[in-house]
């Protein structure tokens, strides 16, 4: 079996030559799932030279068809010979056969004001409730924590957040397990502060609103104003987090944004808590190498090919972690950024304009998250790991005014 793919407009035409039977069906399926992963969801198979189609071959086509249905894509088969036509019709899959290729629906059939002149693949979303941001920055990193500084947060739909929190508050303060968390569309993913723990999550259910006790939090409420779809850069290189965030600042004029990313991962660089900061003692503050007992650092670029759900806050003009200082961000990228990522097993995303809440639900209702990280830009000279980067995906974002007063 030989497969030759040629892109014509929005449609990927694949010429298949040979027998589509048990010995080739796995190869056939994998190759097509690869096309789908690359973002091609409109597929046409030129079957002129498929000489034989067995039931294994049909199973393979069904698998591809199902995957495309989930992504609102389409499978079409042209130029099939008599044998293939009759086999497909007999088995009830005649609907794939066509004599003239149906062009893709315009994926961006959305009612937006094109006068806004957005870049291609960027969509302005209707906003009735602009994004607002509250910060609880009472925690000064690696100082002993004052129990008075815990904030009880609720996460109904339309809220986003990240920080350090605990799902319970009933234990004695020292026994509370504060770990990294993120919240998106009313769902919370939290990682217990242990090296090996897998993240837990609290899902929004009909009458249940997840809540959390936080010692540090960025809490945003409102609607995302834009969606930007991205694919690898023109030279095929992955998209770096800072590059992606910078693109959003070129779309909207704001000094600070809240964003959510859903994307296939190229590599993540990050850290997470492995010991609850409630255990910090005044007499032995974690500094220098002692930090090892409190944080686990990824040490390499990890979770390639899996799916990231990132929640973050970024500014291009001030340090978001220190609202008192007027210093501009010191990172190499010129951005100040705080982002947490949950990692899920890979699932492809539909192309074009997609709905944040629906997509988030899809991931949270699927296989559980594998990890949660506070993203780090490893700019160490020589052996730095660089920053997190993604292959393709979506970023939703909204401008948010810097908060006036704390709490």
């Amino acid at each position: 079996m030989e497969l030759i793919a040629i892109k014509k407009g929005k449609i990927l035409h694949v010429q298949a030559v040979g027998r589509l039977d048990a010995s080739w069906s796995d190869y056939f399926t994998d190759t097509f799932l690869g096309y789908i992963r690359n973002g091609d969801h409109q597929l046409v198979i030129n079957a002129a030279e498929i000489h034989f189609l067995s039931s294994a071959g049909i199973r393979s086509l069904v698998r591809i068809h199902k995957e495309l249905m989930k992504l609102k894509g389409r499978l079409q088969i042209i130029n099939a010979n008599e044998f293939v036509i009759s086999t497909l019709q007999m088995t009830g899959f005649g609907m794939w056969l066509t004599t003239s290729v149906i062009q893709a629906d315009d994926e961006s059939s959305h009612e937006i004001d094109k006068a806004e002149k957005l870049p291609e693949n960027c969509y302005a979303l209707p906003v009735t409730k602009p994004m607002t941001l509250k910060k609880n920055e009472n925690w000064v990193p690696w100082k002993k924590i004052d129990p008075e500084h815990i904030t009880h947060l609720h996460f109904p739909s339309g809220t986003f957040g990240l920080g350090i929190g605990s799902p319970v508050s009933t234990e004695a303060f020292e026994n509370l397990l504060f770990g990294d968390y993120l919240a998106v569309c009313g769902n919370v993913v939290y990682q217990r502060p242990e090296e090996k723990s897998k993240p837990d999550y609290l899902l929004k259910l009909e009458n249940f609103v997840p809540d959390l006790y936080a010692i540090q939090s960025l809490y945003a409420e409102g609607e995302m104003s834009h969606l930007l779809r991205f694919t690898p850069n023109e030279d095929g290189t992955p998209v770096r987090l800072s590059g992606l965030v910078k693109q959003t600042f070129s779309v909207i004029s704001a000094s600070q944004i809240v964003f959510v990313i859903l994307a296939e991962i190229d590599g993540l660089v990050g850290a997470h808590l492995i010991q609850s900061p409630t255990k910090i003692e005044e007499s032995e503050l974690p500094t220098g190498l002692k930090m090892r007992d409190w944080l686990s650092f990824s040490g390499e670029r990890i979770h390639a090919k899996e799916q990231a759900l990132v929640v973050g806050i970024a500014s291009n003009s001030f340090n978001i972690n220190d609202s008192t200082s007027n210093q501009s961000p010191s990172s190499m990228s010129g951005l100040s950024l705080h982002a947490h990522t949950a990692v899920f097993p890979y699932q492809p995303l539909q192309n074009g304009q997609i709905n944040l809440e629906e997509q988030v639900q899809k991931f949270l209702n699927g296989p559980p998250p594998k990890a949660l990280l506070h993203l780090i830009e490893d700019n160490r000279p020589g052996n730095g790991l660089g920053e997190s980067s993604f292959i393709r995906g979506a970023i939703w974002f909204a401008p948010v005014k810097p908060e006036e007063a704390k709490q």
Partner: protein
């Protein structure tokens, strides 16, 4: 039984080749326990056993057996308490001597009487009884030179000899590593059997995660001259190979967490 407190050993101190092979190691071994020592190459496993056996006197720290401070005892003197088996099946036995003669030598370990090679009939039947335990048919070949045996058979005999006088402590340093997988499994099984039936206290260095999980009742993991993990009792019962690999991974990650990472995270983790 065995109590090690704060022992350190540095090879080639104050030279470019300086190696801190043991750093302030503390370890208590209970009477009748069987402990596996695992760890990456060069982590100090053999050095720890050598320190216990008295191959060298540690730079620092104290070693006690049953409360007695043996830190300054010579290797020879400690041999009365300690039986050892090494990786090389050709060490520990004399190739040109017969099985029976080798065992008689082992029976006299630590005794100052002049050595004779003579093996009495009585001794021979006692030897045959014990050798039969190995289930290798060697009891009928007691007069054969040890050099004619396979590595697995030699290692099984070495084990038997090292435990003949019921040493207070049995030290095994990768004693199955040089054997083919089948012989290694057989010797591993014998090891457990002998340790259990003779109620010995034993420490076994191994690179085999499978052995570490299957044989002993405790697993100690070393890294860079330190004990970094200690699975005992319930924790040991629960532990599986993937857990050990995870722990290795974590230990190595911790290693990568150097000052530069600490500085990076100080700046960026908030």
């Amino acid at each position: 039984m065995l109590e090690i407190s704060g022992i350190s050993k540095t090879f080639f101190p104050q030279t470019v080749n300086e190696v801190k092979a043991l750093r302030q190691v503390d370890l208590r071994i209970e009477e009748g326990s069987f402990t596996a020592i695992i760890g990456t190459n060069g982590s100090g496993k053999s050095t720890l056993l050598n320190a216990i056996a008295g191959t060298f006197i540690p730079d620092d720290g104290i070693i006690r057996v049953d409360g007695k401070n043996i830190t300054e005892w010579s290797e020879y003197k400690r041999a009365q308490l300690i039986g050892r088996v090494f990786q090389n099946p050709f060490a520990g036995t004399a190739a040109d001597m017969s099985i029976a003669e080798n065992i008689v030598m082992a029976m006299r370990r630590g005794q100052s009487r002049p050595l004779t090679r003579a093996v009495t009939q009585k001794a021979k039947s006692e030897i045959a009884d014990r050798v039969r335990m190995l289930n290798m048919g060697l009891e009928d070949r007691l007069d054969n030179a040890i050099g004619t045996l396979s590595g697995g058979q030699r290692q099984a005999l070495t084990l038997l000899m090292a435990t003949w006088l019921k040493p207070k402590l049995l030290l095994l340093d990768e004693h199955t590593a040089a054997l083919d997988p089948k012989s290694a499994a057989k010797v591993a099984e014998l090891t457990k059997q002998i340790i259990e039936s003779e109620r010995l206290t034993a420490m076994m260095v191994t690179h085999s995660m499978q052995q570490a999980v299957d044989l002993p009742d405790r697993i100690v993991m070393m890294h860079r001259g330190q004990i970094v993990e200690d699975y005992q009792k319930e924790n040991k019962k629960r532990v599986r190979i993937p857990d050990l690999l995870d722990t290795f991974d974590r230990v190595q990650k911790r290693e990568l967490f150097d000052e530069t990472v600490a500085a990076l995270l100080t700046e960026q983790y908030f």
